[in-house]
């Protein structure tokens, strides 16, 4: 899509994703990661967590959605990497919690590779660091 003409330093608009316990159960089934800290309050608290937390890989999948959403192309991601810095606690409520993403364009290469530096926050705390996604600008 020719609307992609990113420039270094460009800010991307906020995207917000809601995360509920039901999302985590569905993700556990789809991904095969059945670690009980993602669905059992008893287990999560037992290992010292504040409660059930989202799979890091669920948050990372949302980062992928944020980028494909900005770019407008579901197959644009060439490289995606993150560091998990803080858990995303998901309370047992209808609302669950929210993860917010913004990004800034770190670089645009001569062969049209665009590097996004993402910021992901939950309740005001950064949950990812070094979150970097490279897409091919078309």
């Amino acid at each position: 899509m020719s609307e992609m003409a990113y420039e270094k330093g460009q800010q991307l608009p906020l995207q917000t994703f809601r995360v509920t316990r039901a999302d985590l159960v569905r993700y556990a089934g789809a991904s095969g990661d059945f670690n009980p800290i993602h669905w059992s309050e008893r287990t999560a608290v037992g290992v010292g967590l504040p409660g059930v937390i989202a799979h890091g890989m669920y948050t990372m999948a949302l980062a992928g959605r944020a980028v494909t959403g900005w770019v407008g192309s579901a197959d644009a991601v060439l490289d995606i990497g993150v560091r998990f810095t803080r858990p995303v606690p998901v309370p047992d409520t209808d609302e669950g919690t929210e993860v917010e993403f913004t990004a800034v364009i770190k670089s645009v290469s001569e062969d049209d590779l665009v590097t996004f530096d993402l910021t992901a926050t939950c309740a005001g705390e950064k949950v990812l660091a070094q979150a970097r996604v490279v897409v091919k600008q078309i």
């Binding site: 999948a61 992928g64 197959d75 995606i80 993150v82």
Partner: protein
């Protein structure tokens, strides 16, 4: 006891080929709330030049996570998986994964370090077709928390 750093560089045998299913891609995309046509609609994917629906960027975790069993359950390495925290994750693509692909995973240990009472283990999974075409490299860094906290 810290992990044995001599395991750095160890490569595990390839997995049996994994059949990337159209419904599995749709299920995964639905689970992450991604409604993009390329992940769900065969016609839309074919119009974009693909043989079948395309997998979302983090889909290969299904294969790499399963393959990592070889490492975390390696009795010689002796990891305590109950103390493992996911540190970093990265996917580097040569091309998108498409339904109908067959993928073999070769897992390796790229690095083991010990600092501050914790072990840091870097694993790499190379996903390729049975014919040897590389598709995606998956790097996962795990932290094994020490007992001295």
């Amino acid at each position: 006891m810290p992990l044995d750093q001599s395991f750095t560089g160890r490569t595990y045998p390839p997995t049996e080929p994994y059949q990337v299913g159209r419904e599995k891609i749709r299920e995964f995309a639905t689970a992450i709330g991604a409604e993009d046509a390329l992940y769900h609609d065969v016609e839309a994917a074919q119009k974009a030049g693909y043989r079948d629906v395309v997998a979302p960027p983090t889909f290969p975790i299904i294969l790499s996570f399963a393959a990592m069993e070889q490492i975390v359950t390696d009795p010689e390495l002796g990891m305590d998986y109950t103390r493992v925290v996911h540190g970093d994750q990265r996917f580097s693509y040569r091309r998108p994964i498409v339904a109908g692909d067959e993928l073999v995973v070769v897992s390796s240990i790229d690095d083991i370090t010990h600092r501050g009472g914790h072990d840091f283990l870097t694993t790499r999974a190379e996903l390729a077709t049975p014919a040897g075409e590389p598709v995606v490299t998956v790097v996962c860094k795990l932290v094994v928390r020490g007992h001295g906290e």
